[in-house]
Amino acid sequence: MNEFLQALSQHAFLQHALAAGLLASVGCGVVGTYVVVKRIAFLAGGIAHAVLGGMGVAYYLGADPLWGALAAALVTAFLVGWVSLRWRQHEDTLVGALWAVGMAVGVLFLSRAPGYGPDLMSYLFGNILMVTREDLYLMAAIDGGILLVVGVLYKPFLAVCFDDEHALLRGVRVELVYLLLLALVAVTVVLLIRVVGLILVIALLTLPAAIAAQYVGSIGRMMLLATALGATFTSGGLALSYGADLPSGSVIIVLAGLAYLASTLGREAVRRRVLR
């Protein structure tokens, strides 16, 4: 750990990595809370994976893949939302199809891209050590946008997640709010891609919030706790991976998974003792 702290004070790339982890945890804590309480983890997974299509196209055209990712994420969020609202009974099939086809399109475009192929692995599993200053600005802007939207639309989001029938009867435009929520998920996916890659995004979107849900009784407190947990996992994972020379994204996810397992088993043990 000391070795990591010493390296942190010397290397800008580690400072950037740490900052990226902290910025990512805000998005995953806030939006992850909605993903967990609204139970749309599968939809979020579909959006995350289909993003590769946009990154591939952007790379092929010579644009910044992160902007391609943002555009693809928003388009996919809209498609997924539309499927979920209009073809409810086929939602799993259609989202699964978008999930796989998006990835396939991405790989096809990347294979035809001119010059040396980009590092596909870093898209899929993240490379937090490659985060640039510009990436950090983009991430901070995304966090700011998420917090602004959630602050302004606090009541409609809560109403639609909690009880959409009641929200509809109270005059809330439920479908619009739902699509906006999926758009938030989409930009959060983009926020997290650099940190853990698009395959592992879903874990950071669900695990911190799911752990938080075991301890607190309101959406707001869930967001705060999930953000703190996300910051712990990304920083801790970064430090551990640096010391052991392991891929940071995967260490972060394994850490989050172990914490979720420990928390769930611990809660269960306490519950049984109380019942006995």
Binding site: K155, F162, H166, V172, G217
Partner: protein
């Protein structure tokens, strides 16, 4: 000039996929009426409520609420569903659940206002759940949950309260408490309550409407065995009531024929229930 009826159905028919559920229903509900809507399962009671709420459109005829369309009048209706349409493990307190009833009557953006909080507190006091304000909704009993749902409906300052079998899943002592509460509310609101238990509600409501595809309307005093038999299509067991509040006479106490599932006998602690 005639006062505008709160709810008006003119020759309303409704069919699900060609199967008639309601046929030629005419109904007017006036201000501060306490109407009990009864009838067998599948008789169209919930469908009628959904037509009034504008969640369904009639295949024929016209529905108006407070002189306008159901969609326009919807926000002035407090609706209490038969089952909560939310998941009980959602992280939300009773206080916030009730406050969500303010949607459509408060500013659309940001958090709840001081006035929203005050009205929520007042509604919880009236429904006697003020002591539960901080509790997560998942910890409530069936009767407490029903009171919270009534509070959520009241907090929108409605002119009409629609309740769909509000006491279907709770014990009879609590059922009487809930109807006492509704009776109290009907002094200032129009209340429409769906029930399958004619005998029980006839001591509370000012009028009973019997619905089995078509509608027969009665004042409580007029309800006879013949109409009940006609309504259910077979003879039903009668229990002689001697109501303290509206004199004695033959009233159907147990109105469900044997085919309607387990018979719900009047408990011995209800005064006035005598064997035939």
């Amino acid at each position: 000039m005639e006062p505008v009826p709160v709810i008006k159905l003119e020759d309303v028919s409704f069919a699900y996929d060609g199967v008639g559920v309601l046929e030629g229903v005419n109904l007017e509900v006036g201000r501060r009426e306490f109407l009990g809507l009864v009838g067998p399962n599948g008789g169209g009671k919930s469908t009628l409520l959904k037509l009034v709420l504008g969640l369904l459109a009639p295949t024929r005829g016209r529905v108006s609420v407070l002189g306008g369309s159901p969609a326009a009048g919807r926000r002035r209706i407090g609706y209490v569903p038969q089952y909560p349409s939310f998941s009980r493990d959602f992280p939300i307190s009773v206080r916030d659940c009730v406050a969500l009833g303010r949607l459509g009557r408060t500013r659309p953006f940001g958090g709840f206002t001081a006035r929203d909080r005050a009205l929520a507190a007042e509604a919880m006091r009236e429904t006697e759940v003020a002591g539960l304000a901080e509790r997560p909704i998942g910890t409530l009993s069936g009767g407490q949950m029903q009171r919270v749902l009534v509070a959520r409906a009241l907090v929108s300052e409605p002119e009409v309260l629609l309740l769909d079998e509000p006491t279907a899943n709770i014990d009879q002592r609590v059922e009487m408490e809930i109807f006492d509460l509704l009776k109290h509310l009907s002094e200032r609101l129009t209340v429409v309550v769906v029930s399958h238990d004619v005998g029980f509600i006839s001591r509370y409501v000012t009028r009973v409407a019997c619905l089995n595809r078509t509608l027969m309307c009665h004042a409580t005093e007029e309800l006879t065995g013949e109409t009940i038999s006609a309504l259910y299509g077979q003879p039903v067991r009668m229990i002689r009531h001697a109501h303290a509040d509206h004199g004695s006479g033959t009233h159907p106490g147990a109105t469900r024929p044997a085919s309607q599932g387990p018979h719900r006998d009047a408990p011995p602690d209800r005064p006035g229930d005598l064997p035939p």
